[in-house]
């Protein structure tokens, strides 16, 4: 079908740690598909490799195996595992967003600008970007007194909402979400759910890791269950 944005086949990731001369498997045999306007949920126990899948797609990790075929806005297909660094940077700027578990931002930048930044990078005026950022922060119930403050001193839940707003603001085609509601109370979680539903209606495809099965139930169009990879490292070591 032509609404497929991403098709991952046989993704695996291992880390070779030189200091310990060890191979550490972090994900294996992952197949998944993401369609426009749909959410694919990744589930599995701690250590199953959920984050490692998202990081492989975003190329924070270099995939060890597999094909990660992405269809870009012009309908061109490319393998994210093999794409050049400049191409990946361009996709990150225009098409693929990642809401990570932790927020990285400039120490001095006020929350409003942290959220507005992806739009500014895409060429929006600072005024327009700030206005949209303010709308989003309001919808995520981030108290207005925090907007002008750098997020460094925020609570976990506040930081998370800043991170989420920053990921959503630029309306990527493909959005990767790593536990976007982990430290939120139930009222705020409801706001996030509403936003995610809207984004689905807008045609944004998502891969998300949720720690609550209830969220998977409510939001996922497809579910991919991961189990911790076999300790191939130990095997290889005994063979070698």
């Amino acid at each position: 079908m032509d609404d497929i944005i991403l098709c991952v086949e046989g993704y695996a990731k291992q880390f070779y740690l030189h200091s310990r001369q060890r191979l550490i498997p972090s994900a294996a045999q992952v197949d998944l598909t993401v369609r426009a306007g749909q959410l694919t949920a990744l589930i599995g126990p701690t250590g199953a490799g959920k984050s490692s899948v998202l990081k492989g797609i975003y190329r924070t990790y270099l995939p060890s195996a597999g094909r990660l075929i992405y269809t870009d806005a012009h309908g061109h297909k490319l393998d994210l595992a093999l794409a050049g660094e400049h191409r990946i940077l361009e996709l990150r700027q225009r098409e693929i967003g990642f809401v990570t578990q932790f927020l990285h931002c400039l120490p001095r930048q006020p929350a409003l600008d942290v959220v507005a930044e992806p739009l500014v990078i895409r060429g929006a005026t600072r005024e327009a970007a700030r206005k949209q950022a303010a709308d989003l922060l309001e919808r995520l119930a981030v108290p207005q007194r925090l907007w002008g403050v750098p997020p460094a001193t925020f609570s976990g839940g506040e930081k998370q909402r800043i991170n989420l707003a920053r990921g959503l603001i630029a309306r990527p085609r493909l959005l990767l979400l790593d536990e976007p509601t982990a430290s939120l109370d139930s009222a705020t979680t409801e706001h996030v759910i509403t936003l995610i539903e809207e984004m689905k209606q807008d045609g944004i495809g998502m891969i998300a890791i949720f720690h609550h099965p209830a969220l998977v139930e409510r939001l996922a169009d497809a579910v991919v269950a991961l189990s911790p990879p076999v300790i191939a490292g130990a095997l290889i070591e005994t063979i070698a």
Binding site: S19, Y58, T60, Y61, H86, H104, L106, V120
Partner: protein, 277 residues
């Protein structure tokens, strides 16, 4: 897709007379950059990379790994021993090391900017902050006194140096302020390419943060391509999309910055990242 602004191929810089064994007997495997046969220092060898318009490239590595050597040869502070670099300007391209001295000076004054760790290298401490900027503008054909003064004022305001200190000598400024004046001076001719060598090293953390913010703001506003040399992994994390890792004069690893920091491939990079945590 943005265009390439710089292409560096096999850049090499050897200090000393050199001998046929220099290259084979130095580098990460040899664990030294000093040739045991002739004593020459192989400061950089075989350094290749591309830089795109508006992109920030980080160069990390420990002291002596050759980071500054790379930007110094690109800024014509030093001549390379071998290798080439091509600068793609708006409507022309220049093979940097085939140019004559006057052509090199012209690119350096108008199209490249440099900010040094040591403000003494970038600033003239015999003239005022505004005068430093005026000097650079004069070298690049802007000749009207009023226009120069106005431009200098705007640049200093933009880099958050107090306007009323424009006529003071930067000798009296704090380290952070001196770096701001250097940045203002480097930006005076709106160069599309800027080199930053350890610009936050030795400054207080809060001052460092403010300078890093300023650098990113400038990149967003002006679309300036930059090469940022640092031994501070936090600096590349905040600024650079891609990063080169150097050791004993060689590039041992290159990648997207988040990948270099979270999934380093080379044993040395793994140690570097682990020791910074």
């Amino acid at each position: 897709m943005s265009r390439k602004i710089l292409e560096v191929n096999s850049l090499t810089k050897i200090h000393g007379t050199g001998c046929p064994l220099c290259l084979a007997s130095t580098g990460p495997e040899a664990d030294t950059n000093i040739c045991p046969y002739c004593g020459s220092v192989v400061a950089a060898h075989g350094v290749s990379f591309d830089l795109y318009q508006g992109e920030i490239l980080g160069i990390i590595g420990e002291s002596g790994s050759g980071k500054s050597t790379v930007v110094k040869t690109l800024y014509f502070d030093d001549a390379p021993s071998a290798g080439e670099a091509v600068f793609f300007d708006e409507d022309a391209q220049y093979d940097l090391y085939s140019l004559n001295a006057a052509q090199q000076r012209s690119l350096r004054n108008k199209r490249f900017g440099m900010v040094y760790q040591n403000p003494h290298l970038g600033l003239n401490f015999n003239v005022s902050a505004g005068g430093n900027i005026a000097e650079r503008l004069l070298m690049s054909d802007v000749a009207n006194y009023g226009a120069i003064r106005e431009r200098a004022r705007n640049l200093l305001v933009r880099t958050e140096v107090l306007e009323n200190r424009m006529d003071e000598n930067p000798k009296k400024f704090s380290g952070g302020m001196q770096q701001r004046v250097q940045i203002a001076k480097a930006l005076a001719t709106r160069p599309p390419l800027l080199y930053l060598d350890e610009v936050t090293t030795g400054l207080d953390l809060s001052v460092q943060a403010a300078i890093l913010d300023l650098i990113l703001e400038i990149q967003h506003e002006l679309g300036t391509a930059m090469i940022v040399v640092t031994h501070d992994l936090g600096v590349v994390r905040l600024l650079a999309g891609r990063t080169l890792v150097m050791k004993y004069g060689r590039v041992i690893e290159t990648g997207l910055t988040d990948q270099i920091l979270e999934d380093p491939q080379h044993a040395y990079t793994q140690r570097l990242v682990a020791s910074a945590l």
